[in-house]
Assembly symmetry: C2
Homo-oligomer: 185 residues x 2
DNA sequence: GTCTATATCAAGATAGAC
DNA sequence: GTCTATCTTGATATAGAC
């Protein structure tokens, strides 16, 4: 009986969960291997270093948001109100089921600014989030005001996720989305 | 010539700066000792473990906020408007000059929820922040609404600090305070 | 109070057998 | 693709001299 093959994606998914719950530096290659049912040396067949796993984890989540959430802002088959409603619903669905909060928000605060690779990926994730929100808002607001509102709501969302994670309570989180929707209505 | 005596508080101040900039787990006892002009073994004369330094660092900042910021909310010599204005000014002053953002916010996202000592201290820091803000708001709003608004502004402040730290830019941060003040005016 | 020296352990990473 | 075994480094922490 052949042993189970572990894919890169599987390792990333386990790593992401551990990074979110316990932090990047506080997660070891042995922790990751354990979660995958492997021994730590085996991980190096799939990734050349822990840093590569970290960076690929950030890119993996960033890509998910691009494809499943940010893209909603540019859909031409939906009204502006439908776009913001769907955008908020998908964001809420994600973070309400995301144990440990937002990977990129967490690492934004954990990782030193000298880690340029990580910081660039994180900055682009947030910039594209802001851009997508601002694109929806621009139908009702000036360009400058749209960007300002988008920045405010991304910040508010991250703050709300921080509090939700800290208090193990989601009740206050959802109000953030309703406030963004109210801006379009 | 006697060597310089290093105080506990000096070590804490250096540790706090390093924890904020590089993270708690990514800061070693050697890093802390270097910053203090000591060798790592010497730190153990002042603190029994790294965990003690971490917890004392959280308490040190929490105490600063209690004594210099939260207390403003309960001052009877000031009008309600003056209270919120001073509260916001002191908060802004602190975070605009705080390299690396908010220690307790950073560690809230970095440290595993299994670290109960750290998490409790962080939760109380935020709860007391919310309580102080809600106390000011209660003159103009119901108790429930005051707590809701206070929670929202603490979250928004933390999100704004996250973005300020990530982008090395303080421009958007100050608007948060003005919005809280507008709630009282 | 700080130093030198060291103990102990866990981390990231590699080589080669199966 | 995963394993055993090992290397090397850096981490927390301690003992005892000055």
């Amino acid at each position: 009986m052949a042993r189970k093959k572990t894919s890169r994606e599987e390792i990333l998914k386990h790593s992401i969960k551990l990074f979110k719950l316990n932090g990047y530096y506080n997660t070891s290659m042995a922790n990751i291997a354990d979660a995958c049912g492997l021994i730590k040396g085996s991980i190096y067949h799939h990734f050349k270093s822990k840093e590569e796993i970290g960076l690929e984890s950030l890119k993996y989540i960033h890509k998910y948001f691009e494809e499943n959430i940010y893209s909603i802002a540019y859909r031409k088959d939906l009204s502006n109100l439908k776009r913001i409603e769907l955008f908020v619903k998908k964001t809420d669905d994600y973070f309400l089921h995301s144990e440990g909060g937002c990977l990129l928000g967490n690492l934004a605060l954990e990782v030193s600014s000298e880690n340029i690779l990580f910081k660039d990926e994180i900055r682009n994730y947030f910039l594209n989030w802001e851009k997508a929100l601002a694109h929806i808002l621009q139908v009702n607001y000036s360009e400058g005001k749209s960007i300002e509102l988008a920045k405010e709501y991304v910040a508010l969302t991250q703050g709300a996720i921080m509090m939700m994670t800290l208090y193990n309570s989601s009740e206050s989180y959802l109000k953030v989305g309703q406030k963004i929707i109210a801006l379009i209505k």
